[in-house]
């Protein structure tokens, strides 16, 4: 079963994603980091297959963490989660920095799982 690390400063979004992941049957939740710096640490300790990460977080934001993660760990697949997914420039910037896809908010479980299963 693939392990997914959830990275979001919002407790409610983390809860939504953890629920979708744990009820999917083919993914398991590797934990919850509250910012980019925690994500980098937990990527090392928990070794997830996929990271679902918010773009806007206090402290180290998602795009800054993404830059480091793709250098530090060539195997990990990062999907950004953001309400700004529909802003073309933001979506493109995330892909250019190495994100595999972007999940727009509001999301539904089918879309999240479809994107995770494509990886």
């Amino acid at each position: 079963m693939k392990k997914v690390l959830v990275v979001d400063d919002s407790l409610s979004v983390a809860r939504q994603l953890e629920k979708i992941i744990s009820e999917s049957g083919d993914f398991t939740c590797a934990g919850h980091a509250k910012n980019g710096a925690e994500a980098i640490k937990m990527n090392h300790t928990e070794d997830p297959d996929i990271i679902c990460m918010d773009m806007n977080m206090p402290g180290m934001d998602g795009l800054t963490a993404l830059r480091s993660l793709v250098v530090l760990d060539k195997d990990v697949k990062v999907v950004m989660v953001t309400s700004l997914g529909g802003v073309g420039d933001k979506f493109t910037e995330a892909l250019k920095l190495g994100a595999k896809n972007v999940i727009s908010k509001p999301f539904d479980s089918d879309t999240v799982l479809q994107i995770l299963r494509q990886l």
């Binding site: 409610s12 700004l84 529909g86 979506f91 892909l95 999940i103 727009s104 994107i115």
Partner: protein
């Protein structure tokens, strides 16, 4: 389920690969000339003129085209000509995907039709603002998208009230806010009653009951709703040619200065009458 741009819709639905989209965007970057580059190619100015205007732009909050006219480098007619050329030669993402071989012209038409259908839910209805307000179409769209998200995300039935000007907003059980910056500046505020906060939390957490949830989780769900609406507003605004940045959401307490409409701002109130008799409020503090 959100406001999207076409490239995102295609990648999300696995209709083109991420790498093909990046290739098409690279092609767009090569082919779509910026205003200065187009003016240069039409012989209206020199590279030195562009650099002079860019330097002047550091101390002036003006678009390059307007500045070039103000500095006497180009005439208004030449500026209009440059903009027309940019529009006429613009390579759209769908065409770029055809050119890099990721889509056939037939597939492009088929996917465009499906995309338009998907996004039709977010087409803005006309909302009347009470006064002459700068960028009024952006704020009408903001109110309209808020209504649409209340239906789609919170699953609440409601009737929008008449928009009015306010100077001192009423207090509420809880208020969550987000600041917009960029081409337009404003504070977006949603206020809810205790009962509505629980309804928002149930919808966001997808739980039957939230009676045992801690206060910070309940507040976080209202902030998340604000975040979702404002991100989609920024996406829609970018399609309308306005760049809007969003800042992290925050809660406003009764004693906070953030409660009042700041000097130099116009306050708008949009009452939202929920079917069970409760009222949610959307407030916009717009920089004049």
């Amino acid at each position: 389920m959100a406001v999207k741009f076409f490239g995102q819709y295609l990648v999300e639905n696995n209709l083109v690969s991420r790498d093909a989209l990046l290739q098409a965007i690279e092609l767009q970057d090569q082919k779509n000339l910026k205003l200065g580059e187009m003016a240069l190619s039409l012989g209206y100015l020199s590279q030195a003129d562009i650099e002079r205007a860019h330097n002047a732009q550091m101390s002036k909050d003006m678009k390059l085209g307007d500045l070039l006219v103000e500095m006497g480098i180009m005439t208004s007619e030449q500026l209009n000509d440059v903009i027309t050329h940019q529009k006429n030669t613009h390579l759209y993402i769908g065409e770029a995907l055809v050119q890099v071989g990721a889509l056939t012209p037939d597939q492009l038409q088929q996917h465009l039709a499906a995309f338009k259908l998907d996004q039709a839910l977010y087409v803005t209805d006309k909302i009347e603002l009470p006064a002459a307000i700068a960028n009024s179409t952006i704020w009408e769209m903001t109110a309209d998208l808020t209504y649409k998200m209340i239906t789609r995300v919170l699953d609440l039935q409601f009737r929008p009230g008449k928009c009015e000007l306010i100077s001192a907003p009423r207090t509420a059980f809880m208020m969550a806010a987000m600041d917009f910056s960029g081409d337009v500046e404003a504070r977006y505020v949603i206020s809810v009653s205790e009962n509505l906060q629980k309804q928002v939390a149930k919808a966001i957490l997808r739980e039957e009951t939230v009676d045992n949830e801690p206060v910070e989780v309940l507040e976080d769900t209202v902030m998340e709703f604000v975040n979702v609406v404002c991100g989609n507003v920024a996406a829609k605004a970018s399609q309308m040619g306005k760049a809007m940045e969003i800042n992290p959401p925050l809660t406003i307490k009764q004693s906070d200065p953030g409660l009042a409409v700041p000097p130099g701002y116009t306050g708008l109130l949009f009452p939202i009458h929920i079917d069970d008799g409760d009222t949610m409020e959307l407030k916009l503090f717009i920089k004049n």
